[in-house]
């Protein structure tokens, strides 16, 4: 028994594991806080696009030796700007615009990596490598998290109003354009932070799944935000911890856990779950059945 307990604490004997666990939890938390805005604004595809668009920025940053956060953030904002520009200047639909821009950026990233092979490992960008995260990179993640939490903490009501009813925001004299850019910048920043933990491909899961799960469990935005953040933290903690035993693929472990939690909510959520809506339909048709029955039995014939 004591042997079993001892084996449970093994990951904590390694500095790199402890670091991986708390950095993952931090990233999971800020992604969780932002997730309700992204899911309710309908920006899932936008999140995916930004997470792939930051790749060339990361590569260039590594090649020239400046902070990868800066490179990634600039690349993300450039991509968002390119999307807005193409949409305003042409008749191409939004989803096609997003598709064109993010694949272009990603392709540019791949070309740069193959041109400068020593600069950076493609696998690290695509799948993340939180176990080997360097101290300066941790500092960058902490910085992003602090700014994101501050902005959401002070401005979540404005951002919520902007997601729900941008026209009302404008007619109250709020700066809708500034709110739009704020949300976009937060999205780009968290993409960059999550890149470290789970890599470019799975960033989207960190940004969507916690919010979607919380959405099934509550009808109040504030509650949704806290639930979503709690899921993000818990799944990232547990996922990073579990990855020690499975030996690797931290990102995969975290996202798989998030999917399991989502599935549980999808089926069992008290009001919006699959079983609950089945029950509601059955209760309804039960009432209808009673009304219909006399006629079915031919009393009127």
């Amino acid at each position: 028994m004591t042997e079993f307990l001892q084996s449970l604490t093994v990951p904590f004997q390694y500095d790199y594991m402890i670091r991986a666990i708390w950095v993952s939890a931090l990233v999971g938390g800020i992604c969780g806080f932002l997730s309700p805005f992204v899911t309710l604004k309908g920006w899932s595809l936008m999140g995916d696009a930004l997470s792939h668009s930051v790749v060339p920025g990361v590569v260039i940053a590594y090649i020239f030796g400046f902070p990868f956060v800066l490179g990634a953030f600039i690349a993300g904002l450039l991509a968002a700007g390119a999307m807005a520009f193409i949409r305003a200047q042409s008749r191409i639909r939004e989803d096609a615009t997003i598709g064109i821009v993010f694949t272009s950026f990603f392709a540019l990233g791949l070309v740069l990596i193959s041109l400068f092979p020593s600069g950076v490992d493609l696998k690290t960008i695509l799948y993340g490598n939180i176990l080997a995260i360097a101290d300066p990179d941790i500092l960058q993640v902490v910085g992003i998290s602090a700014v994101t939490l501050l902005v959401i903490g002070f401005k979540w009501r404005d951002l919520m109003l902007y997601c729900f009813d941008p026209n009302q925001a404008r007619s109250l004299g709020l700066k809708a354009g500034a709110l739009h850019i704020t949300l976009l910048a937060l999205l780009a920043a968290t993409c960059v932070a999550a890149l470290q933990a789970v890599g470019a491909i799975l960033v989207l899961a960190m940004l969507i799944t916690p919010g979607a799960t919380a959405y099934l469990l509550t009808d109040r935005f504030g509650t949704m935000m806290w639930l979503s953040a709690a899921f993000g933290v818990a799944t990232s903690l547990a996922g990073a911890y579990a990855s020690y035993y499975i030996n690797g693929a931290t990102g995969g472990c975290i996202v798989t856990l998030q999917t399991l939690v989502f599935l549980a909510a999808f089926v069992f959520a008290p009001k919006r779950g699959m079983l609950a809506s089945r029950r509601a339909i059955r209760a309804c048709s039960g009432v209808l059945g009673e009304i219909n029955q006399p006629r079915m039995n031919g009393h009127e014939l």
Partner: protein, 299 residues
């Protein structure tokens, strides 16, 4: 709140969209305090563009809009303009309660973090009670009927304290009882000096509750008191053959039917003109003065 009278001036407004589409040209009219004014026109006649210019979402390429004598931007900062959106424009699955939505009307007047003070809460409660939705304050907005949904957004406009209230198709999907309740509330607001500007397709309801009409088709065709503007001739100009007619003279209705003819319609109220092309109203009890005058004229 200012006690002096609010006004809405639209002066020679033209709007050309970036794709070259001219939505409005040289539109002008003026509304004074204490009016319910209908904005009537076909789809694509520039109704929503006009609303957007009044709310400052589009900048006119020529002309200007003044609210209470101020440019739009300034009036928005003073929260003078409230907007009740069309039902189709709202995400009803959004996780907010009735209370949350009405509280959004107060955001403009709140501090940096939008934390409601006692005064804000009191105004929200008052507004909800005025539209009889206080009992539903904790409901998620998707769990309401069509009429209840409308009343929630009307309560938001009340809580905001707007003096110019824009309503977009307020009666679609609303039952007759709620329609009457909303009209009653609009009458109260008119009495308090507000300008109520209602965009609507529902022609028959216009004479019933609007004292003024702005008729538009890419520009303002006519504006003024309903009885003067809402003529068969003006409507034909505004709708250009889109309207359907049912003329009793040409129909199978015979003289033995007399006036015992019932007109039913689906969502919209029918618009009825009398022999000389004057407006007919639904309820003669409310228009005895008019009846007496017409009788005298006839004799």
């Amino acid at each position: 709140m200012k006690t002096d009278e609010v006004s809405l001036d639209v002066e020679g407004v033209s709007v050309v969209y970036p794709n070259g589409h001219q939505a409005l040209s040289d539109a002008s009219f003026r509304l004074g305090a204490g009016t319910i004014c209908a904005l009537v026109g076909v789809n694509g006649s520039g109704k929503s563009t006009l609303f957007k210019s009044i709310m400052g979402f589009v900048n006119p390429t020529a002309g200007r809009v003044r609210i209470h004598g101020m440019p739009v931007k300034e009036s928005l900062k003073k929260h003078l303009v409230a907007y009740v959106p069309q039902s189709e424009d709202v995400d009803w699955q959004f996780p907010v309660s009735v209370w949350d939505v009405v509280m959004m009307g107060r955001y403009g007047a709140m501090n940096f973090m939008r934390i409601p003070r006692a005064a804000d809460k009191r105004l929200v409660e008052e507004s909800l009670r005025r539209v009889s939705m206080w009992e539903f304050r904790d409901r998620q907005i998707g769990e309401l009927s069509g009429g209840q949904k409308k009343r929630v957004f009307l309560a938001r406009a009340l809580a905001q304290g707007g003096r110019v209230i824009l309503l977009d198709e307020p009666f679609t999907g609303v039952d007759v009882k709620t329609e009457e309740a909303i009209i009653g509330l609009l009458h109260e607001l008119r009495k308090s000096g507000a300008i109520i500007f209602v965009s609507t397709h529902n022609l028959g309801s216009v004479p019933e509750f609007c004292d003024q009409v702005v008729l538009i088709n890419r520009t303002v065709l006519a504006y003024g008191p309903t009885a003067e503007v809402f003529t068969a001739q003006n409507l034909a100009a505004a709708f250009g053959g889109v309207l359907r007619e049912f003329q009793f003279e040409r129909s199978t209705i015979q003289s033995h039917d007399g006036r015992a003819v019932t007109v039913l319609s689906d969502d919209e109220r029918p618009l009825v003109f009398g022999k000389d092309g004057h407006l007919e109203y639904m309820d003669r009890g409310k228009h005895e003065e008019l009846l007496r005058k017409r009788r005298e004229e006839h004799e």
